[in-house]
Structures are given as structure tokens and as C-alpha cells.
């Protein structure tokens, strides 16, 4: 697992930092970056039935410079891996990676003994924050993955201060 190199924000003010994290959590702009079948499910998550835009994450920015989340959706082939690394480096600092689908988590159905063409999982060369299992995962699973990332960002279920609906008290961590 590549160790996380997170550039600490220059100013460390507790409340301000939490407020900034809250805003970052509620407006995660994903990058249009689909590799294979999971890209179709990512598009379905962005489409009208499972609307990602409700959570502010519907703005799919084409250029890595303006996006916060890189959703690695699909199989990472050895030829594509260096390009994914350059894309990840081009993204501005507070950036996160969501590994969507079994191929991005561990090579999925294509990882076996004699495999010569794919990289077994995105976490071999990227610091992955959230793993969304499934082949392909349902759009709801991707949305839950993004909510999970938001929880990570705001440290527990604080992200719904701004949200109208409260998370179901049953599965609240704290």
C-alpha cells in the first residue's frame, strides 16, 4: 500500500478546518475517467435515476485539474497504469481515489496465475481511499462509496450538518 503523502493544509485552525472539510465533502467533483464496464455504471449513477448531483458530486469535470475525486472505474491494464499515475499527479492537492469495481480493487475476474496484461488493483500504485466492491457495483453502491468518502473526510457523520436528511441512527458509527 503506497504510504499516503498528504500535504498538510498551511493553516491549522480547528473549526475553520472542519468547515473546509465539510465543504469539501459536500462538493466532490469526480473526473470523467472510465476504463471499462464500471464506467457505464458510473454514468448511470450520474444519470437521472440514481442522481449523483443531489450530493453535489454530479459535476463530472473532464480535466484532472478541476476534479477532486478520481473514480478508477474498470480494469487497469499495464499499458494504462503509467497514464493513470500522471493523471493522479495532475490533480490539485486535496484529492482522493475511489477504486470502483473488483478490477480496480484486486484485478477482479482477470487476476489469475498466468495473467500478463493487467495490474492487480489500483492500490498498487495509487493511495486508494474507498473501495467499492462489485462487478460492476450498482450505482447505489457507488453513491454509498462516495458517502463513505465524505464520512472519512468529515470524520464520522458530521457531513450531514448541511444535509436535510439525517442518516439512519441505526448504522451511525458514533
Amino acid at each position: 500500500m503506497v504510504e499516503r503523502f498528504e500535504t498538510p493544509p498551511p493553516v491549522q485552525l480547528g473549526i475553520l478546518n472542519q468547515m473546509l472539510d465539510l465543504c469539501r465533502a459536500n462538493s466532490l467533483w469526480p473526473m470523467t475517467f472510465g476504463l471499462a464496464c464500471c464506467a457505464i455504471e458510473m454514468m448511470a449513477a450520474g444519470a437521472s435515476r440514481f442522481d449523483l448531483d443531489r450530493f453535489g458530486a454530479g459535476v463530472f469535470r473532464p480535466s484532472p485539474r478541476q476534479s477532486d475525486v478520481m473514480i478508477v472505474a474498470g480494469t487497469i491494464s499495464k499499458k494504462m497504469a503509467p497514464i493513470i499515475v500522471t493523471l493522479y499527479d495532475q490533480m490539485p492537492a486535496p484529492k482522493w481515489v475511489v477504486a470502483m469495481g473488483n478490477c480496480a480493487i484486486s484485478g477482479g475476474p482477470f487476476a489469475y496465475e498466468g495473467q500478463y496484461a493487467i495490474v492487480n488493483g489500483a492500490d498498487r500504485f495509487l493511495p486508494v481511499d474507498v473501495y467499492v466492491p462489485g462487478c460492476p457495483p450498482r450505482p447505489e453502491a457507488l453513491i454509498q462509496g462516495l458517502l463513505e468518502l465524505e464520512d472519512q473526510l468529515t470524520g464520522g457523520a458530521k457531513r450531514n450538518y448541511l444535509r436535510r436528511f439525517k442518516r439512519h441512527p441505526g448504522n451511525d458509527q458514533e
Partner: protein, 333 residues
């Protein structure tokens, strides 16, 4: 306490003279209004786009997702500002600032209400069009300076497009100016006492709206930042608040273009019942809703079709329209 305040006020008035103070206060109000308006417009666009596309726009953040744009703004503020090494540093940094500043100046002359106008220049319309031309320069500078092939293509396209669509814009405005025979916006609004110019000059109105949508790089003419061809057009290399400034400038431009359209064609703050600034704002936001609606329904024009439309189609019509109005006015007067 009050006396010292009034004394300092009097001293300031004598020192600067009344006009400068009015301008400064007017621009400060304009700046705050621009921020609020941009936040509202971005939210309005995402909600309208959502409902057009069978989905609800941002809903989770605050009631009806109203806080969504504020959250986006704060997040953009918190992002790292990347300047690519091969980019020419100074122009790359200056470009978003230069895009945003000329956008504030038209607020000086826009007649929001009967007496709600910062300063009534007798060359108001000329000022607006002069500064409208400036943001093309900034877009070219930004696109070229970021040393990215897609940005370069986007920048060159935006120059060609704005040059091509500046002329029909001016022609349609000229036909209104001839009717009101004055460049000052207050006079144009007064000239529309009985009948709005949109009924007198329908062709010029349509010409103006088409030119205006092209001027602000929106919808069928959003060639410079065509998402599906040139990855993100001229602002491919911009990250964080620099990209936010481009975004802000685009929405404020949209507001200005719509407000100029209302003053020229839809009778400014004159309304059927009680005249007042609320009529002006209602018409402006109606026009903006129309522009947003157009954005989410039409596919994009190709670059050479865009040029043909302007040079071979809009400009001749604008000239003919100008000629006809001149002739009719000659006969009537």
C-alpha cells in the same frame, strides 16, 4: 459621534468630489451583488438543468440545495493552485483576474431603476461593448499561456468567435440607438415609454440574443470550452479558484448581457403596472432562464458553421435592419 461622522463625510465629499464617491459606493454594491448573483445563478442553472433532465439538481446541501454553490466556492478556495512549469507564469496568473475585472464596469451604467443608476454616462452603451471585448483578450492570454494544446485550440476559437459575434451585437444595438438617438441607457429606457423596442425591432432583438449567447460562450456556441472535443477548452490547466474566477466571470457576463438586452429591448425598469427595479430584475432573470434553457437543449455548432452563421447570415441581416430603420426614421421624422 454623529457629528464626527458627518464632519469626516463632509471632508471626504469636498476632497474627492461627489461623483467619485458615488462611483466607489456604486461599484462596491455592484461587487457584492455580482457575488450573490453568481452564486444564485450557478444554483439556478444546476437546478433548471436537473429538472430539464428528469432529475433533481443539488438537493442535499441545505434546503433545496441552496447552499450548494457556497460549498462549491469554499471548496474551490481550498484547492491547490497548480501552475504548470512550461506555462508562462505571469500571463497564466493574470488571465483569470483580467477575465473578471472588465465584467464589473458595466454595472456603472446599468439603469436598475428610475433613479437607481450609479451614473448616467451619455456613452453608456459604448462603455459596455468596449469592456465586453476585453474578456476575449484575457481568454486568449489564459489559453495560450497554459501551454496546453487543447487550451490553445480553445483560446483561438474563442477569439474568432467573439470577433465574429461582436459585429451583429453592435449592429442590433445601433438600430436601437438610432431609434432612441442617444447612447445613454437612461434615454433608451425613456424612449421606450409607450412601446418596447422588442415589438418595434423584433429582428434586432433576435439578433442581439443570438449574438449575446455567443458572446458569453454558452450553449450552441460553447466552442471555446467544448467539453466533448477539447477536454475543457481554454481553462483546461486552471485549478482551484482560478477556474472559479472563470466560472464567476461567465455567469456575471450572462447577467450583464441579459440586463443590457432588457434595457435595449424590453423596456428596462418600465412595467405595465408599477415601474421599478423589480421589473428590471424580473425581466433579466427571465432572459437568463431562457439562456439556460437553450443551453441544455441544443447540440453544439461546429466551428466553421459558427463562422458561416455569423459572417454570412447575421451580419447581412443586421446591416439590412439598420438600413431599414434609418430609412423609416428618415420618413417619419
Amino acid at each position: 459621534m454623529i457629528t464626527t461622522l458627518s464632519k469626516t463625510w463632509q471632508a471626504l465629499l469636498d476632497f474627492f468630489g461627489p461623483l467619485a464617491l458615488v462611483l466607489v459606493i456604486g461599484l462596491v454594491i455592484a461587487l457584492t451583488y455580482v457575488q450573490i448573483n453568481a452564486l444564485f445563478l450557478v444554483w439556478l442553472e444546476r437546478k433548471v438543468a436537473g429538472h430539464i433532465q428528469l432529475r433533481i439538481g443539488p438537493k442535499e446541501v441545505g434546503p433545496f440545495g441552496v447552499l450548494q454553490t457556497i460549498v462549491d466556492g469554499v471548496k474551490l478556495l481550498g484547492k491547490e493552485l497548480i501552475t504548470p512549469r512550461p506555462a508562462s507564469w505571469l500571463l497564466f496568473v493574470l488571465s483569470p483576474i483580467l477575465v473578471f475585472t472588465p465584467v464589473l464596469v458595466p454595472f456603472v451604467v446599468l439603469p436598475f431603476g428610475e433613479n437607481l443608476q450609479v451614473h448616467d454616462l451619455n456613452v453608456g452603451l459604448l462603455l459596455i461593448f468596449a469592456f465586453a471585448g476585453l474578456n476575449v483578450l484575457a481568454i486568449l492570454m489564459g489559453g495560450w499561456a497554459s501551454n496546453n494544446k487543447y487550451a490553445l485550440l480553445g483560446a483561438i476559437r474563442s477569439v474568432a468567435q467573439n470577433v465574429a459575434y461582436e459585429i451583429p451585437l453592435l449592429l442590433s444595438a445601433m438600430s436601437v440607438v438610432i431609434m432612441a438617438n442617444s447612447l445613454s441607457l437612461r434615454a433608451i429606457v425613456d424612449a421606450q415609454e409607450g412601446l418596447w423596442f422588442v415589438f418595434v425591432q423584433p429582428v434586432a432583438a433576435i439578433l442581439y440574443l443570438v449574438g449575446a449567447t455567443a458572446e458569453t460562450n454558452r450553449a450552441p456556441f460553447d466552442i471555446p470550452e467544448a467539453e466533448s472535443e477539447l477536454v475543457a477548452g481554454f481553462h483546461t490547466e486552471y485549478s482551484g479558484m482560478r477556474f472559479g474566477l472563470f466560472f464567476l466571470a461567465e455567469y456575471t457576463n450572462m447577467f450583464i448581457v441579459a440586463s443590457v438586452a432588457t434595457t435595449l429591448f424590453f423596456g428596462g425598469w418600465r412595467g405595465p403596472i408599477a415601474d421599478g427595479p423589480w421589473w428590471f430584475l424580473a425581466k433579466v432573470y427571465l432572459l437568463i432562464f431562457g439562456v439556460i434553457w437553450v443551453r441544455w437543449t441544443f447540440p453544439r455548432l461546429r466551428f466553421d458553421q459558427l463562422m458561416n452563421l455569423a459572417w454570412k447570415f447575421l451580419i447581412p441581416i443586421g446591416l439590412v435592419n439598420l438600413l431599414v430603420t434609418a430609412l423609416v426614421l428618415k420618413l417619419v421624422r
